[in-house]
């Protein structure tokens, strides 16, 4: 068990629970025809979350300071793909589905393993055009199409 993470998590959940409790005071207490307003349930849950977080924090005191075996973690690949995914999400509407998906997939494939550029371009192209064609043309769904300056 990771002591540091559990401490931070316990603290964050404690704050979340407290925030829900405090904020539930600002919700109207009255509901027509009922003396149990919309504030009761969140308040109780916030309270339980606070108590559980305190319990977790107390439990972390008893953790053995066991040494964690370090696993090889591929931060670089992960961060590149994460950044690409966030950009993909943000640019999906302004730039359109096909272009963003195509670029995201190429970056993703190449980050996972360099090389075979032609094959990755082919798969990325097939996926992005395929999904767009099937969803928008056949199923009549809505996806952001092409950017204005493109069409």
């Amino acid at each position: 068990m990771n002591k540091t993470f559990d401490r931070y998590a316990g603290f964050i959940f404690l704050m979340i629970g407290a925030a829900f409790m405090l904020e539930s005071f600002r919700i109207s207490k009255n509901a027509y025809g009922s003396n149990v307003g919309p504030n009761v349930f969140p308040f109780l849950l916030g309270l339980i979350l606070v108590l559980l977080s305190i319990k977790l924090l107390l439990e972390t005191l008893k953790y053995n300071a066991g040494h964690l075996q370090k696993k090889k973690v591929q931060y670089k690949k992960f961060l590149i793909i994460l950044a690409a995914a966030i950009l993909y999400a943000i640019l999906l509407e302004p730039v359109g589905y096909v272009i963003t998906t195509f670029l995201f997939l190429i970056i993703g494939f190449q980050t996972m393993e360099k090389g075979k550029l032609l094959k990755t371009i082919f798969i990325a192209g097939a996926f992005s055009f395929g999904v767009y064609y099937v969803y928008v043309k056949i199923l009549q769904g809505t996806l952001p199409g092409w950017p204005i300056w493109f069409s």
């Binding site: 068990m1 629970g17 025809g33 307003g37 339980i48 690949k77 999906l92 997939l105 769904g141």
Partner: protein
């Protein structure tokens, strides 16, 4: 008998060409999900909800719900079939529910009997699936009749019991499991309150008025979370994929495995009906049970067919059994059934006792399609098992970016907001961090799905009792549920204090 008529009507729905296609696609994808290590049934089902939603957009709401749920349930039980393939051929379980299958399955593969292990697993799964379905057919009506008599107080306590069971069995730390449950319930309060119409925790942000979408969170924490984990901790599959060999089992093997299959099916079914236990525990229990009653227990672990037949039957029976509380009571007993329930609610169809009255075509159509789906799986898994064995070799470098792209497409297609896409990625990060530190995710999703119902029933019960909380212990049925829930929490703690190791359910 009424049941037969209902079932025949169900078959009429299930045999419609498009529903047959949906069932086939579902079990096919399910088998693939089962075969691929790294994608579990939970993320598989979550990932496919938006895809099916867009595929069924041209149908009437009730028909669309039937078709989607047929496909999604197909993924769920299909994964139970597929999970055995990698366990046997590669010594790597495709699902947590196939972990015990590796013990004897891989040994059999080493001895060149992989084909018979795979086919016995498929036959056992098929038999178990049919047993569970017959039980489901017979129990559905009577159980939902009983459940119809429940008032809000009983429902509230029953849902508490469901949460207690899942939280009690999930993960190593019960504190963490409960924290995730409560956090899920809290997240479900964001948005417009269904009873009073008051906006809660929205802070005038328009996207929050509808509440956090269940779908976004489920796809995020399960599918993206698993993908992120796969990128960070690259798993090398150095093991040789064993040759499948002769597929048909010998008469001797069939004879040896018939007992374990029958016992595994029954045991698995009952474990599956219990909330919180699920397929992993079922396979585990049935393996231990077979070993206990076997005349030569020393054979287990060295490639005996019973060690494959029993757990594989049990996990499939459990996945069928888990449909009972979901369909008749509206209480999901596991993470995957919680996701199925979320999918039904998305179509405005409330699982529960009224389901059989209000939407008999959905309920019976699903049950009938599961009969057909199991038959398809038997056919898919016996002759085509060599094809599926090839899927294991899919390079993750293509799979991982494509899963991210499918998640983003799916969420955007249903929600059409950039906010949900960012929430999706955020949930993926949170899901990875929480899961890798022993915070179980299934209770979170369960809390999120059950939250609105728990709250409504609690408030209705309290309104009727003028705010007196004693109403939950004054009604006898409700009291029984609450006591059971308490026992579910207290007994494991007592066992832990006495130094017993507990079996925990990873997929819960």
């Amino acid at each position: 008998m009424d049941v037969i008529n209902f079932l025949l009507d169900g078959f009429q729905t299930a045999l419609l060409p498009h529903n047959l296609l949906f069932a086939f696609v579902g079990v096919l994808i399910g088998t693939a999900v089962g075969v691929l290590p790294g994608i579990g049934p939970m993320s598989g089902v979550a990932l496919l909800i938006p895809v099916t939603a867009s595929m069924t957009s041209g149908l009437e709401p009730a028909e669309a719900a039937t078709s989607s749920i047929i496909l999604l349930a197909g993924v769920y039980y299909g994964a139970m079939y597929g999970g055995s393939t990698t366990s046997i051929l590669l010594n790597t379980p495709g699902e947590s529910s196939s972990v015990v299958t590796t013990l004897d399955g891989y040994q059999m593969a080493k001895q060149g009997r992989a084909g018979s292990a795979l086919s016995i697993a498929a036959i056992g799964s098929f038999f178990a699936g049919i047993v569970a379905l017959i039980a489901l057919t017979l129990l559905a009506e009577p159980l939902s009749k009983i459940a119809l008599k429940f008032g809000p107080a009983e429902y509230f306590s029953l849902m508490l019991l469901g949460l207690a069971a899942v939280s009690g069995l999930a993960g190593n730390s019960m504190t963490k499991a409960w924290m995730m449950t409560v956090f899920g319930l809290l997240l479900s309060t964001i948005g417009i309150d269904a009873v009073s119409g008051v906006a809660r925790f929205t802070y005038d942000i328009s996207v929050l008025y509808g509440g956090l979408e269940f779908l976004t969170i489920a796809v995020g924490v399960f599918a993206l979370g698993e993908v992120f984990k796969a990128i960070l901790h690259k798993e090398e599959n150095d093991g040789e994929v064993a040759k499948v060999g002769r597929i048909l089992p010998s008469k001797q093997e069939l004879k040896e495995s018939s007992g374990p299959i029958v016992r595994g099916s029954l045991l698995g079914f009952f474990v599956g009906v219990l909330p919180g236990a699920g397929a992993t525990l079922a396979s585990f229990f049935s393996y231990i049970f077979e070993k206990k009653i076997s005349k030569n227990p020393e054979k287990f672990g060295k490639g005996t067919i019973a060690g494959v037949a029993a757990p594989e039957s049990a996990n499939n029976a459990a996945s069928g059994g888990a449909m009972i509380p979901l369909l008749t009571l509206g209480i999901p007993g596991s993470g995957t059934t919680a996701i199925l329930m979320g999918a039904l609610i998305m179509y405005n169809i409330q699982p529960g006792p009224l389901l059989f009255d209000e939407h008999p075509d959905v309920a019976w159509g699903l049950i009938a399609s599961m009969f057909i789906g199991n038959l398809m799986l038997l056919i898919l898994n016996m002759p085509l098992v060599k094809v599926f064995a090839k899927i294991i070799e899919t390079p993750p470098k293509y799979l991982i970016p494509i899963i991210i792209a499918i998640s983003i497409f799916g969420v955007y297609a249903v929600q059409v907001t950039t906010f949900d896409l960012l929430l999706l990625i955020g949930c993926g990060l949170a899901g990875y961090l929480l899961a890798s530190n022993d915070f179980p995710l299934a209770p979170l999703v369960l809390g999120l799905v059950l939250g609105p119902m728990i709250e409504n029933n609690m408030r209705r019960a309290l309104t009727a009792s003028n705010g007196d909380f004693m109403v939950f212990v004054e009604k006898p049925i409700s009291l029984v549920f609450i006591i059971t829930a308490l026992l579910w929490i207290i007994v494991p703690i007592l066992l832990k204090v006495r130094g017993k190791t507990l079996v925990i359910s990873e997929e819960a």
